[in-house]
Symmetry: C2
Subunit: 306 residues, 2 copies
């Protein structure tokens, strides 16, 4: 196997009740990457389409992540990477994570799969540092593994994979505005009321229980965010209007995807998701801001060969 092509899907992190620890994998939108063995050792990025990203390995999210795993093995070949970027940077659906996760997935394949997908998460996190300044796993884990992932803790990294109920669909509306990660962080308080932490913890517990019991409505009731959304929603024009439109049309829940600006909704069944998407679109139509929408089953596979 000298050349492979892979798909690295978009992801939704936080999901209202799971700030910094919960994420899920979607489908239909994701990056494509090509990995090719070369005689010259090392990792080289040879082509990037649809994004203005650095080619220098040490400055590129995919490059750093790829190098982290490549350097664990003593091989007599190098790897060239082509990145075909379909997920827009700063969209809030795991653009940098797809680069990092896709990179380690592809390199692992060419190395002969020395690592499990779960083990790859730690390498992908090295790439995330370039994008966000810190190692976090709440997007790279679901991007690699598919379904839902819970990051129980980081010391040591403890990732729990949770299968999605079969009939669960996500809608994503991506307004074409930039929410700087620094701004999205600056609005958060470093201290929060204990009572809000208790509320959030109850909801996260309810959501996890809903996943294990296929209880869509428990999941829906649990999709509440008393900590982050109230602070961040002002960064996303018309957020409340879009959320109201989603909930009016039977979305289980709706919130900010990652740090935004994308807005997600979870729905029971594809037909509901399509109606919800239509209504979220209608709510945004006159905003003067262009946007994309996606409707997707929760992706059970994560990164894969194509």
């Amino acid at each position: 196997m000298n050349e492979i092509k892979i798909f690295a899907p978009a992801t939704i992190a936080n999901l209202n009740c799971g700030f910094d620890i919960l994420g899920c994998c979607i489908d239909g939108i994701g990056d494509e990457m090509i990995f090719r063995k070369s005689t010259e050792k090392g990792i080289r990025i040879t082509k990037i389409t649809d994004a203005d990203l650095p080619y220098e390995t040490s400055k590129n999210v995919a490059g750093v992540a790829a190098l982290a795993i490549y350097e664990t093995q003593n091989v007599n070949f190098g790897i060239e990477i082509e990145i075909h970027k379909k997920i827009k940077a700063g969209s809030g659906i795991g653009s940098s994570s797809a680069s990092a996760a896709g990179a380690v997935f592809g390199v692992n394949e060419l190395l002969g799969k020395p690592f499990s997908k779960k083990e790859l998460v730690a390498f992908a996190m090295k790439g995330e540092v370039i994008a966000s300044g810190s190692e976090h796993a709440d997007n790279v884990a679901p991007c690699l593994l598919g379904n839902f992932t819970l990051i129980r803790g980081y010391n040591p990294l403890d990732i729990i994979e949770i299968k999605s109920p079969d009939d669960l669909f996500a809608v994503v509306l991506h307004p074409h505005i930039e929410v700087k990660t620094a701004d999205a962080r600056a609005v958060l308080s470093k201290e929060i009321p204990l009572k809000d932490a208790i509320t959030q913890t109850g909801n996260l517990g309810g959501f996890i229980a809903g996943l294990y019991t296929n209880d869509y409505y428990l999941m829906g009731r649990s999709l509440q965010d008393v900590i982050v959304e109230p602070k961040r929603k002002h960064l996303i024009p018309h957020f409340d209007k879009v959320k109201a439109a989603a909930l009016e049309h039977d979305a289980l829940g709706c919130g900010i995807s990652g740090a935004g600006p994308s807005i997600f909704a979870l729905c029971k069944s594809k037909s509901t998701a399509e109606i919800v998407a239509e209504n979220m679109k209608n709510a945004y139509e006159n905003s003067g801001i262009s946007f994309d929408t996606y409707v997707s089953k929760i992706n059970p596979d994560g990164c894969k060969l194509i």
Copy 2:
């Protein structure tokens, strides 16, 4: 049915990662109560043994809870209650909750079971107000329902019952000291670091996932408390020593039961629990404080007729 006798078991609330929302039911220790129909309408407490509690219905936890449910039905009889208190007040294993839960369970039986056990929780919470000043469900829910319960939220009350893995055992060490609820509350900060809330939420999610997947070690890794235990443990002499003794002998986790002073450990298997109990005892032996210990399977039944 004119007279019944019931058992209202002890409970462990908080369980490290689930402050104010998580609880489980234990066995072997619990109150016994007798309920008897009388011609005179109303609720009367006719006997209390092993505790110095008020007989006046409106001032007694069991009385208030019993009255809350009794008044929903239009019946031509009254109910007399005998309370045989086996759980010491202020022990941290749900003494007042057993009174409240047992009362509504018993009265519901004599009323012809108009309510499900889950519906009874709201009535039992009325009794908890007398004991603690606020309606909370994290002990009364597991006392009534057995197993583990998660309180997802209070508005509206949303209780999730989670079956315990079969081989899960609890050890409780109850030091005979008083930790005043007011003191246990006063040491808590009203604001907590966001990063600690994230850690706690990850652990709660991990614990819930462990329960659904019978993953004892995931449950164990999740039994961590970065919010409450560091503040409260100083109220319990030798807490660190007892915890270390439990963990050294393969307890899955160890922490403060409710607001203390009881210390609990969860263990995989009865034999491990017995060894852990022995070592927790040894660690407390020279403290100069008398104590009781209990070893119990997680109780799947909750309140029951005996």
